[in-house]
Amino acid sequence: MSNDGNAARLEIKGELNIFTAAELRLQLLEALATGTELEVDLSQVSEIDSAGLQLLIAAKRDAAARQQTLRFTDHSPAVFEMLELCKLTSHLGDPVLIHAQP
């Protein structure tokens, strides 16, 4: 986690799933507590499941309740694929970069 000007940044690396959800939840809570603006970099997420998805949704909800800004950026292909599957891209409301088809 780093603090870049006003916005805190958090990078999630590797798996974002049931196995890592508990720990990431704490990280997100901590990160949200530090300031008014948080940017979460998802570019290194290799795997995401519903637990991970729920975490993203809950974080958004939490941030909204506290009137904080929370942005998910650089969605990795895994995240993007999952959001497309659930048609939740617009729900989370962050700009998503569409990856070139391999």
Binding site: N17, I18, F19, A21, A22, E23, L24, R25, L28, L29, L32, E47, D49, S50, A51, L53, Q54, L55, I57, A58, A59, R61, D62, A65, M82, L85, C86, K87, L88, H91
Partner: protein, 776 residues
């Protein structure tokens, strides 16, 4: 179908075994670092995944057993239970028992009473950690009575999509299933026309239980499949989720019922159905109206709906297994690995061996035709063949790390048994070697490790008295060295007792009392059958069975084992193995008409052996190589290679006279003048009667250098190693043969054997020399 079942089951078994290995490794790690959350998670994950997969196959005994273990692990993870060595020991036992169950499943054996007893014993112990006697239930829930059917006279809705309404229960994730994977699976046999993910139930972060499932989905689905197939997709969450599957053109009343069954979402759900295109707004109104007409609500619907989770069609096992396979396939793709049948791989490598021989043959013919274009094409082809060979051989390479990790357990168990505190240090785990070698090296390595722990490392009091740390250290190390892989087992124990080994060997009549042996040779004695110096035989080792087996196993892999030992400081056993068993880069040399192959990795350099040097060596077979003494062997003498090349003999048979002329001494044909001219002109002598040049190929193995004296150096040659037949198994100095491009056979030199032979004879000679000096 049974095919599918077998495949899927096989995958399950392999994966379960791997997971158990991971779990064991993690358990052994956790003892050292009890607070490492990653390791605890790894253990939990292994148990959890095994439970999930076992559940898919209906191995209820595995599920029930693992469930209890998982509950304890969960408490560990939450910090409610501290990690103690008893707990680790218990879980190692759990792992072993799970392994036994998996083996039984693999063998198609139904769990017997003994296994149940073992399960129960472990479960009882586990329960003491849970502090309650929780009832483990693995019975499938009773199926509800089939509801009655009534007819409804109403038109269906316009949409021709299936409508799926899914509400996943909170435990779905915990039970090892990911709701998203079900959605993905649907995509495999139909098209998700529209999907609305219901996220309303997801709480804000502070209230979120990261392992509970909160999601729901409304899906408009287009498929050719029948209802049973769709139902089959949800087979495994049927008990944990609310699933409604409405066929195309379902009656409005069914939607009404759907809406009313999920009342808290009523309005929203209606909208969602419209958004899915399942209902038109008009149809939605009709449904809602109808519900309003019946204030009693869902208790008295117009007609019971055909489609209900309680009205389950017979299980469609095949669909379930297909799904299983899909999940597995997706998983392997994720990790970027494919499982390949080892037989297929071996066949592939054999074929490449044939390809190399064939291409060598083609190259030879190309050289004879002297067609530049053909030569160029062949050169390119050869290079490609070489690359194919390298990549094929790489396929067989695995890291030795996994084998090393297994020893964590061995060391733990054995040190507990011996009452010694021994730590294992592993390095070089990333060293690659042939899979066959890895499989076969496990047993000898285990034996060496046990031996070191039992005999090498002293009891703590002795260690302290000797000024060493109380805990012993055992090191496993691996590295590559000139075409070999070296595996070291090193301990910081008492070292080999040279005198005692010598005394024992003399007592057993293995050597004569006056025999002079180098330290190396004395240490090698412990590999002789029936040799053990330990006064006390433990149940681990010391019976003298084993070390000879160790050496035999290693020799069978074309490897060697040697020992470095300093009394009181420690012993290092060094196993050297060839990197690969099938194809090597060879260096082709000629002795008279015979060809030999030296593994190229072991060749250091080639030098010419002049007549002068031969003379200087005074028959001692040593030469001065840039100021160093290099012992050498004449292959011609060693293998007694016939002086007359066989090719010439053939010619002699066909053309008798010419052959005789050729074989006749050149001097007898000379006239008197000619002889005089020869005598006066040394240059002419040389031209007419060249001194056959000899070459020395300097080879290195295990830190020792030896020269091999040959006639011709014929260059690099890709060598497919063929083993020698049984008859030649006792042959010294030859490790195999290969077929050359022209169809001739070339023998592959056993360089380690030759080097040892030279070192041995040298050692003996030195020993004799010193004895002479002693007596003089």
């Amino acid at each position: 179908m049974s095919m599918n079942l077998d495949d899927a089951l096989h995958t399950f078994i392999i994966e379960a075994k791997e997971l158990l290995e991971d779990m064991e490794a993690a358990l052994l790690r956790i003892e050292q670092t009890p607070d490492d959350a990653d390791t605890i998670n790894a253990i939990f994950r292994a148990a959890h995944t095994i439970k999930g997969s076992a559940g898919l196959f209906g191995f209820d005994h595995v599920v029930a057993f693992t469930h209890v273990a998982e509950s304890v692990l969960d408490k560990v993870r939450n910090g409610e239970i501290a990690i103690t060595s008893e707990l680790v020991a218990l879980f190692l036992g759990v792992g072993d028992h799970l392994g036994a169950m998996i083996v039984a499943i693999a063998g198609g054996i139904e769990p017997d009473a003994q296994m149940h007893d073992a399960s129960n014993a472990l479960v009882d112990k586990l329960r003491t950690y849970l502090g309650q006697s929780s009832q483990v239930s693995c019975q499938p829930p009773a199926t509800a009575a089939e509801p009655q059917l009534e007819k409804e006279n109403a038109a269906g809705v316009g949409s021709d999509n299936w409508h799926l309404s899914l509400r996943f229960g909170p435990d779905v994730l915990r039970n090892g299933m990911d709701p998203l994977s079900f959605i993905r699976y649907l995509g495999t046999f139909g098209k998700i026309v529209e999907i609305v993910t219901l996220v309303d139930k997801v709480p804000a972060l502070p209230e979120l239980d990261p392992e509970a499932s909160y999601l729901g989905f409304e899906i408009a689905f287009q498929t050719e499949a029948d209802k049973a197939t769709i139902e089959g997709a949800f087979e495994f969450v049927r008990d944990d989720a609310i699933i409604h599957i409405l066929p195309p053109h379902s009656l409005i009343s069914e939607y009404q019922r759907l809406i009313s069954e999920l009342p808290q979402e009523e309005l929203r759900l209606g909208e969602i159905l419209v958004r899915c295109g399942t209902l038109t707004p008009g149809e939605l109104d009709a449904a809602l109206d109808r519900q309003a007409d019946h204030p009693d609500g869902p208790a008295h619907p117009l007609g019971e709906v055909l489609v209900d989770q309680k009205l389950v069609q017979p299980r469609v096992v095949e669909a379930a297994l297909d799904k299983q396979k899909q999940v597995k396939e997706a998983k392997s793709a994720e990790s970027g690995l494919i499982r390949v049948n080892a037989d297929n791989l071996d066949e592939h490598i054999n074929l490449i061996g044939e390809l190399i021989i064939a291409s060598a043959g083609a190259s030879l013919i190309a050289q004879q035709t002297v067609n530049p274009a053909l030569l160029e094409a062949m050169a390119r082809l050869s290079r490609l063949v070489e690359e194919v060979r390298d990549s094929a051989l790489k396929l067989r390479m695995v890291q030795i790390g996994a084998t090393f990790k297994r020893f964590q357990r061995v060391v733990r168990d054995v040190s507990a048994e011996l009452g010694k505190d021994i730590r294992l240090e592993i390095s070089g785990g990333e060293t690659d070697l042939d899979k066959t070698v890895v499989e076969k090296i496990g047993d000898p390595l285990t034996h060496l490790v046990r031996n070191s722990m039992d005999h090498g490392i002293e009891p703590a009091d002795v260690r302290l008295a000797r000024g060493k740390p109380a805990h012993g250290t055992l090191q496993l190390n691996a590295y590559h060295d000139s075409g070999s892989i070296v595996i070291e087992v090193a301990d910081d124990g008492g070292g080999l007792k040279r005198e005692r080994i010598l005394a024992k060997a003399i007592e057993r009549g293995l050597i004569k009392a006056d025999q002079q042996l180098s330290d190396q040779e004395i240490y090698q004695l412990i590999f002789l059958p029936g040799f053990s110096t330990v006064e006390q035989v433990s149940n681990l080792s010391g019976r003298g069975v084993g070390m000879d087996v160790v050496r035999r196993n290693i020799t069978a892999l074309r490897g060697t084992v040697d020992i470095d030992s300093v009394e009181g400081v420690g012993t290092t056993m060094r196993i050297r193995l060839p990197l690969t068993l099938a194809i090597i880069d060879g260096f082709l040399v000629g002795v008279n008409a015979s060809s030999f192959v030296v593994p190229l990795d072991m060749v250091v350099e080639c030098v010419e052996l002049s007549a002068q040097q031969t003379e200087d060596s005074h028959g001692r077979d040593h030469l001065n190589l840039r100021g160093e003494v290099l012992p050498f062997i004449r292959l011609k003498q060693l293998f007694d290679v016939p002086e007359a090349p066989p090719a010439t003999i053939e010619i002699a048979d066909d053309e008798g006279e010419l052959g005789t002329v050729r074989q006749g001494s050149s001097s007898s044909l000379l006239t008197a003048e000619g002889a005089a001219a020869l005598a006066s002109d040394p240059e002419l002598t040389f031209l007419l009667n060249p001194v056959p040049r000899e070459n020395v190929v300097v080879v290195q193995y295990g830190g020792r250098r030896t020269g091999l004296v040959v006639d011709k150096l014929m260059g690099e040659f890709q060598t497919v190693i063929r083993p020698l037949g049984e008859v030649f198994s006792g042959l010294d100095g030859i490790s195999g043969f290969t077929i050359l491009g022209n169809g001739n056979v070339a023998l592959i030199l056993d360089v380690p054997g030759l080097v040892r032979r030279v070192a041995g004879s040298e050692g003996r000679r030195n020993a004799q020399a010193s004895t002479y000096r002693g007596t003089e």
